[in-house]
Structure formats: structure tokens, C-alpha cells
């Protein structure tokens, strides 16, 4: 399908990518994460495969939108009838004007992964929640990877004024070989609308993952994100939100690294107008030789007075070889604001371990109990109960307590 406005954007992105490639580590936002291994893999873009070895996901408490290798699979999905939730390819046909008005509009600053995505996306998700409408059940977006290839998908989510929705992005793979997920989402939360977005990244152990979420929050819009980075060999997550007047943004994150995993989380909250509220809380647990990165920046523009903003990053380093690079930044150009940030990096508390031992619990189990508790604080913030249960079960497998 050739659509001239899109072809122009894609050609431009392709040219840009050919010039720069994937981001180099001399760029400030990429200094802790070297992605040169990805280019060396010489992946090509995934092909559509007819037969997939998956059963349709059990419908029940959520709607489902399933991708296999970056292609929407309607036969595995389960979607509401009255609200527009379709593939981006369908949207190009049936919602062309709306899509064109939003496409590429939430991304203020591009880089190699986004350019590559724009030039090469195979498919994606398009959601349009009309004014004053509530999506009755959460929409679970499941990305299943089965090929050693690049899986680029592009998503546009639009909530009109006073709309409300919950989305859950899941990234999974039954395979152990290398592939690259490249998922870029543009999200538009309208006036007084409310979006909760969960991301559960459980890619295969040799996978590479780039996920970028770029959000525009209109006046009084609320955006809540929960970012669980569990899988993959190397993962980078970008979350960037631009807030208009009195918009509220809450970013929660949990990254659990073991073996030689590398998990990089970059967030930007841009308060463009007054009276906004932002809360950011990221926690990390790193075992073995794993490396975590937290780069959180909150920017308060000159006229954005009365901003109330807090950012926290807490880390547990459970091995001498594990590493965390944490860089919280406040960039404040207004003079009447309330902003705070804090970082901790530490080990498990010896006194707590002994207290549990003194009650009959062996040392290893005591450590698991304390580690589970540290991580579970983020799982407890999940308001969709089936997901909370699922995540708590994942933690219990990592940190067995029996």
C-alpha cells in the first residue's frame, strides 16, 4: 500500500537512519548502553508466518490484541465491537485523516531506533477512544516473537476528552535465540482523559528490546505508567511525556536483572504549563553481572509555575559484580515549584535478615523474602488484579520463599 504522506515520512526516516544507524554511545542519552552488538547481528525485518503454534488467548477479564513477529493476528485476538481498536494498516485505510493528524506528532526528538521503526514498521495498533467513553475492560497487547529478526511495530493511541482506558503491553517469546523487538508508541491523552499503561517486558534471554512510548497529555489529562523490565539480554525503554496545564503523570518502574542482562530505563517528564503533578518511582534489583541504568529527567519550563514533582530511584545490588548507573535530573526554569528527587543504592539490611533468622527462617529464604518485598512494592501499585497476581507469581519464582 502506498500512501503519499506516509511514504514521505518513511523515506525521510530511512535516509536519516542510513546516516546515523542505531544510537552511538557518545550520545548523552546512550552513554551507559552500547547497542553496537545489535547492528553486528545484521537482522532483517521479520516476515509474516502463516502457521503459529499459539492458541488464541483466553478472553475474560481483558481484551486481547495479538502480534506474532510484528504482524497483527486477528484470529488470535479478541476486541470490543463498538470502539475502534484495529491494526495500523487498517487505520491507514479506514481512519486515514485521524491517523495522519497524529502520526509522528508525539515524538519531539528522534534517534536511530525510532527512525528505523518509522521507516520499517510492519504493523501496529491503532486505538481511538471517543469523547466521554470508557474502555470497559483493559486491552492486553501481546507481542510474541518467534523469528531471529527485527520486529518493528508502530502504535497510535488516542483518548479524546474525558475518555478512560487501561492498556497492557506484554512482550514474550518462547525462543532462546536473538531477535530485536522495536516497538514505538505515540499516545495522545485528551483533556481530562485518563490512561493507565502497563508494560511487561519478558523477552527471551538472548533478545534485544527497544520500546519507546511518547505521550502528549492535554490539560488535566492523567497518564499512569507501570514498567516491568524482566527479560531480554539488552533492553532499553524510553518514556517521554509532555504535560499541558494541570496534567498529572505517574511513572512506576521495576527492573530485575540477573546473569549478564543490561536493562536501561530512560524517562523524561516535560512540564510545559503550570499546575502539573508528576510522580516517578523506579526500583531495581541486580544480581550476578547484571547492569541497570536509570536516567530520569524532569523538565519544568519557564512558565510552568506551581509544579509538584517527585522522582525516586531505589536499587538493590545483590552481587559484587552487579552495576547500576543512576542519573536523576531536575531541570527547572520556573521559580515557584515543588520538586524533589532521591536515589538509593544498597544491599539487603543485615538486621532484617537476622531478625527473620531469629524466627526460624533460614538465611537464603530470609533474603528472598526481603528481596520479594522490595520488588513487590511496585507490583502492589498495579490496580488490575489479574495482572498483579501474575506479576507477584513471577516474583515468587525468582525469589522462592518456601
Amino acid at each position: 500500500m502506498s500512501i503519499s504522506w506516509l511514504d514521505d515520512i518513511r523515506t525521510q526516516a530511512k535516509n536519516q537512519f542510513e546516516k546515523t544507524g542505531f544510537p552511538a554511545s557518545n550520545l548523552e542519552d546512550w552513554r551507559y548502553t552500547n547497542v553496537s552488538a545489535i547492528a553486528k547481528k545484521e537482522f532483517s525485518v521479520a516476515k509474516f508466518v502463516e502457521d503459529v503454534d499459539f492458541d488464541a488467548v483466553e478472553s475474560g477479564s481483558a481484551f486481547h490484541f495479538v502480534f506474532v513477529d510484528g504482524y497483527f493476528r486477528e484470529e488470535l485476538s479478541n476486541l470490543p465491537e463498538s470502539i475502534t481498536i484495529c491494526s495500523i494498516n487498517d487505520a491507514l485505510k479506514n481512519h486515514a485523516n485521524l491517523l495522519q493528524s497524529k502520526f509522528n506528532q508525539a515524538i519531539q526528538q528522534s534517534h536511530g531506533f525510532i527512525d528505523f521503526n518509522t521507516a520499517n514498521f510492519t504493523d501496529g495498533l491503532f486505538v481511538h477512544i471517543p469523547k466521554n467513553t470508557i474502555l470497559e475492560k483493559p486491552l492486553q497487547i501481546i507481542h510474541i516473537a518467534t523469528q531471529a529478526a527485527i520486529l518493528p511495530t508502530r502504535h497510535v493511541v488516542i483518548l479524546e476528552a474525558n475518555a478512560k482506558a487501561e492498556l497492557i503491553e506484554m512482550f514474550v517469546s518462547p525462543e532462546k535465540y536473538a531477535y530485536l523487538t522495536n516497538s514505538v508508541s505515540e499516545i495522545f491523552v485528551g483533556e481530562n482523559a485518563d490512561l493507565t499503561l502497563y508494560k511487561v517486558q519478558q523477552e527471551g534471554e538472548n533478545a534485544y528490546h527497544f520500546g519507546g512510548t511518547y505521550v502528549q497529555q492535554a490539560d488535566n489529562a492523567r497518564f499512569t505508567h507501570h514498567n516491568f523490565a524482566l527479560g531480554s539480554l539488552l533492553a532499553r525503554s524510553d518514556i517521554v511525556s509532555d504535560l499541558e496545564t494541570a496534567a498529572e503523570c505517574e511513572l512506576n518502574g521495576l527492573y530485575l536483572g540477573s546473569k549478564n542482562q543490561h536493562l536501561d530505563n530512560l524517562t523524561r517528564i516535560n512540564h510545559l504549563q503550570p499546575n502539573g503533578i508528576s510522580r516517578e518511582f523506579y526500583k531495581g534489583i541486580l544480581n550476578d553481572q547484571a547492569k541497570g541504568v536509570f536516567q530520569g529527567r524532569i523538565v519544568v519550563a519557564e512558565n510552568a509555575q506551581k509544579i509538584d514533582s517527585q522522582m525516586n530511584n531505589r536499587n538493590l545490588l545483590l552481587s559484587n559484580e552487579a552495576e547500576i548507573d543512576t542519573k536523576p535530573q531536575l531541570e527547572i526554569y520556573a521559580d515557584d515549584v515543588k520538586c524533589a528527587h532521591g536515589v538509593t543504592v544498597g544491599q539487603l539490611d543485615e538486621k532484617s535478615i537476622f531478625y527473620l533468622q531469629s524466627r526460624g527462617i533460614d538465611e537464603e529464604t530470609a533474603k528472598h523474602i526481603l528481596t520479594f518485598a522490595f520488588a513487590n512494592e511496585m507490583v502492589d501499585r498495579v490496580t488490575f488484579e489479574p495482572l498483579k497476581v501474575q506479576l507477584a507469581a513471577l516474583l515468587a519464582v525468582r525469589y522462592p520463599m518456601d
Partner: protein, 247 residues
């Protein structure tokens, strides 16, 4: 039940216990009193298996076994319980979870099956009520945001659930107002039994008004310098510790 013989303990290079002897039989209540810095807390910690203490000599035999060879959790499973002077706050772990995990660890050690969930709840609620604690405490994180009195009651709740054989109360009266002291003492008295012994480590005689000891020992400069019956505590209350240290 417990026999401590010529125990010497260092913290770093400093000798804290300097040849301590103590014998506790089943069903007895012993009070260990003494001035600050005498080594009272060191004794509690060494009995419970806390690290950071180097035993340089002597022995501790518990039910015929060498207590010093056991890691802390094994001591707990064998029935040694320390009620902490400063109970630790543990974020994210609820009281009810800890009680169940601890009870099951002890039961497993004894070759018993895990406690039935309903039986457990019935039991824990009854014990909570007996200590005049709100049930809501069960679902709060261990000691987090508890007042001094609530923390001490929580220690006694754990003790009541685990039904240990040797209970060590480390300065349990410190930081308690008179009402909380009475509740804690009632909780302890309710646990008195023929096969259960208590070691109460305390600076003040106050607790002994509520929990009457069979024996009182004065610990000064790392040794038991005087032993007697309950009346010795009253004498100490009157005269202080000075006369013993000079002796």
C-alpha cells in the same frame, strides 16, 4: 535446659563477657540485671546466634546440644526465642506472613506438616486479641510505624505463636508505659509453663513487679557477681549497682 559455662566473648578486640556461668532449668524464670555496659545485651545476642560476637572460651549447652554450633535459625527452630530490645521494621513483609512462615519453619523442623490456613488464622486472631492488639496489625508490615509498646507486644505475639522453650526477653520493659507493660507482662505470664523457661534481661526492677522471677542474677563487668531470689531485685532497686561493683 540451658547451661552456660565459663563463657568469654569478644566484640572486636574487646572482651565483654569474662567467664559467665548460668544454669536455667525447665520452668524457671531468671532475671539478669546489671548496669549499662555490663554485657547483658551481648549475652542475649550470643544466645540467639547473632553475628559479630566472637566466643573465645567456654560453652553453652541447650537441651544437651552445643548451642554455639547452631546457626540462628536452627536455634529458633529448636525453641530459643529472643524478644528484641529494638524490634526491626521490615517494609513490605506483613506480620501475618512472617508469623506463618516462622511457624511453618518451626513445624517443619519438628517433622510436622504445614499449619492449616484456617487453623492458623483462628490461632493468630486469638493470640492477637489476648495481647489487646487490633487485628489490623496482622496485615501491616512487620513493626513498620509501630509505637514502642506495639513493637514489644508484637514480639510477645510472635513468642506466643512459636511456643518456644527458652524465651529471652531483652530489655522488654524499656520504652513501655505502665499499661503496655502490664499487657506485655500478662502475655508473658500466660506463657509460663513447666517446660518453658525465661531469661529476662533488664536494667530496672520495674518489670519484675509484674513477672516474678525465681532467680535474680547481677551481671557486672562480664560476670555474674551475685545471685539470689526475687528479693535481690528489691535490694538492687534500693541500693543501686554501685555496692556490687566495689565488692
Amino acid at each position: 535446659m540451658l547451661k552456660i559455662k565459663d563463657l568469654t566473648v569478644n566484640v572486636g578486640t574487646k572482651e565483654i563477657l569474662k567467664g559467665l556461668n548460668l544454669e536455667v532449668n525447665a520452668g524457671e524464670i531468671h532475671a539478669i540485671m546489671g548496669p549499662n555496659g555490663a554485657g547483658k545485651s551481648t549475652l542475649s545476642h550470643v544466645l540467639s546466634g547473632k553475628s559479630g560476637y566472637e566466643v573465645t572460651g567456654g560453652s553453652i549447652t541447650y537441651n544437651g546440644k552445643n548451642l554455639l554450633e547452631m546457626p540462628a535459625e536452627i536455634r529458633a527452630r529448636e525453641g530459643v526465642f529472643l524478644a528484641f530490645q529494638y524490634p526491626v521494621e521490615i517494609a513490605g513483609v506483613t506480620n501475618v506472613y512472617l508469623l506463618k512462615a516462622a511457624l511453618n519453619a518451626v513445624r517443619k523442623h519438628k517433622g510436622l506438616s504445614e499449619v492449616d490456613a484456617m487453623d492458623f488464622l483462628t490461632l493468630v486472631k486469638a493470640k492477637t486479641k489476648a495481647l489487646e492488639m487490633d487485628e489490623k496489625f496482622l496485615y501491616r508490615a512487620v513493626n513498620e510505624g509501630f509505637s514502642g509498646g506495639e513493637k514489644k507486644r508484637n514480639e510477645i505475639l510472635q513468642m506466643a505463636m512459636l511456643e518456644p522453650q527458652l524465651c529471652i526477653l531483652d530489655e522488654t520493659d524499656s520504652g513501655l508505659d505502665i499499661d503496655a507493660l502490664r499487657i506485655v507482662a500478662d502475655g508473658v505470664n500466660a506463657l509460663r509453663a513447666e517446660n518453658r523457661s525465661f531469661i529476662m534481661v533488664t536494667h530496672y526492677q520495674r518489670l519484675l513487679d509484674y513477672i516474678k522471677p525465681d532467680f535474680v542474677h547481677v551481671l557486672a563487668d562480664g560476670k555474674i557477681v551475685k545471685s539470689g531470689g526475687a528479693e535481690l531485685a528489691l535490694e538492687l532497686e534500693e541500693k543501686g549497682y554501685g555496692w556490687l561493683e566495689q565488692a
